[in-house]
């Protein structure tokens, strides 16, 4: 499972950034694939990006909501796409497909003392989703009625890393436009990536609005995890290996909590098969009638 996930992450990152013609051509890809959103966080202004970023696209609809409503444009396409992905997979894209999540896993490998995160900070992504992605772009508008991409503009480290820095090299004209905002974003990028060295998946757990959206579906998604309490031997291996600190073995969290990125490490490592994957009504492992009676999902 570990190898399969790693391979999927590599392939997904390469697929999301598969436009290598930028080296001798236009700075960014301008083909029809850009009408499709990639399920992970990957800036569409990255020179190699082949798809659109769902958070950027969602904010773009929010910024033009007041102007777009008369024509029926409120982002139904993006909401539908994100909802459909979440309804099928929950946060699987976070654990298996997201290039920025993949990067954080590599950064966390740097050997140093590791820190845990207070539980209350798990709700951080919802703060960023509600305020920076949904409310501020709609509520604060200029004189012509258009809002601003608050999350992209002031927060998103993926945009700074994947688009801001490479475009400074590839499009020298942009260098003249650099101001305090750019340097603020660089500082924020350094802080976030720095924290990722000490705290596993810091950005996913505290900031990412895309993970917040998918997390809403974790409990009801087509693919879910199931915990069989009676089969559990309380070895805590699942908790020790969990990149987001989910603690379901003792009942502190549901196994399908919004914080779970569905990396399936707990499923792979559990020595007593107390974790199973449920796809629709099918289960991954044979569950006895004895332990299924105490299933906690």
């Amino acid at each position: 499972m570990k190898r399969r996930r790693r391979l999927t992450q590599w392939l997904s990152t390469l697929l999301a950034n598969s436009y290598w013609l930028f080296l001798g051509n236009t700075p960014i890809y301008q083909g029809p694939l850009k009408a499709v959103c990639f399920p992970g966080l990957n800036c569409y202004s990255c020179p190699a990006a082949a798809f659109a970023c769902p958070v950027g696209a969602l904010q773009n609809f929010a910024t033009t909501l007041r102007m777009g409503l008369p024509f029926g444009h409120f982002g139904a396409y993006i909401i539908g796409l994100l909802g459909l992905t979440g309804a099928f997979l929950g946060r699987i894209p976070c654990g298996w497909l997201c290039p920025f999540g993949f990067l954080q896993e590599w950064i966390y490998r740097i050997p140093t003392k590791k820190l845990s995160l207070p539980r209350a900070m798990r709700f951080g992504p919802y703060v960023f989703l509600i305020f920076f992605v949904l409310l501020l772009p709609v509520l604060i508008v200029d004189e012509s009625g258009y809002g601003s991409l608050w999350f992209c503009k002031y927060i998103c480290p993926a945009g700074t890393l994947e688009a801001g820095l490479p475009l400074m090299v590839l499009a020298p004209d942009l260098k003249q436009m650099i101001g305090a905002l750019f340097f603020n974003k660089i500082i924020l990028l350094v802080i976030i990536l720095g924290l990722c060295v000490f705290i596993s998946r810091f950005f996913c757990r505290v900031v990412c609005p895309l993970g917040a959206i998918y997390g809403l579906f974790n409990k009801t998604s087509f693919i879910r995890l199931e915990f069989h309490e009676r089969a559990c031997v309380n070895c805590k291996t699942c908790f020790k290996i969990c990149p987001t600190g989910v603690s379901f073995f003792n009942g502190a969290d549901s196994i399908n909590t919004h914080a779970c990125i569905r990396c399936m490490k707990c499923y792979s490592i559990c020595p007593s098969d107390a974790v199973s994957i449920s796809v629709g009504s099918m289960k991954s492992k044979a569950i006895t009638s004895d332990n299924i009676s105490r299933t906690n999902t």
Binding site: K34, S45, G75, Y77, G80, L84, L149
Partner: protein
């Protein structure tokens, strides 16, 4: 499969198809094919 899962899949499929029918992917395409100055921090 939980009943709500089926309901959500249908609901979001309808939303997505509605968005496609009114041409929202073109709006996404238009935005995604130009360099987003906001995204790179100089907007």
């Amino acid at each position: 499969m939980k009943r709500i899962t089926g309901f959500l899949i249908i609901l979001f499929s309808i939303l997505m198809l509605y968005g496609i029918s009114i041409g929202e992917p073109l709006k996404v395409l238009k935005k995604a094919t130009t360099i987003c100055l906001d995204c790179i921090g100089i907007g």
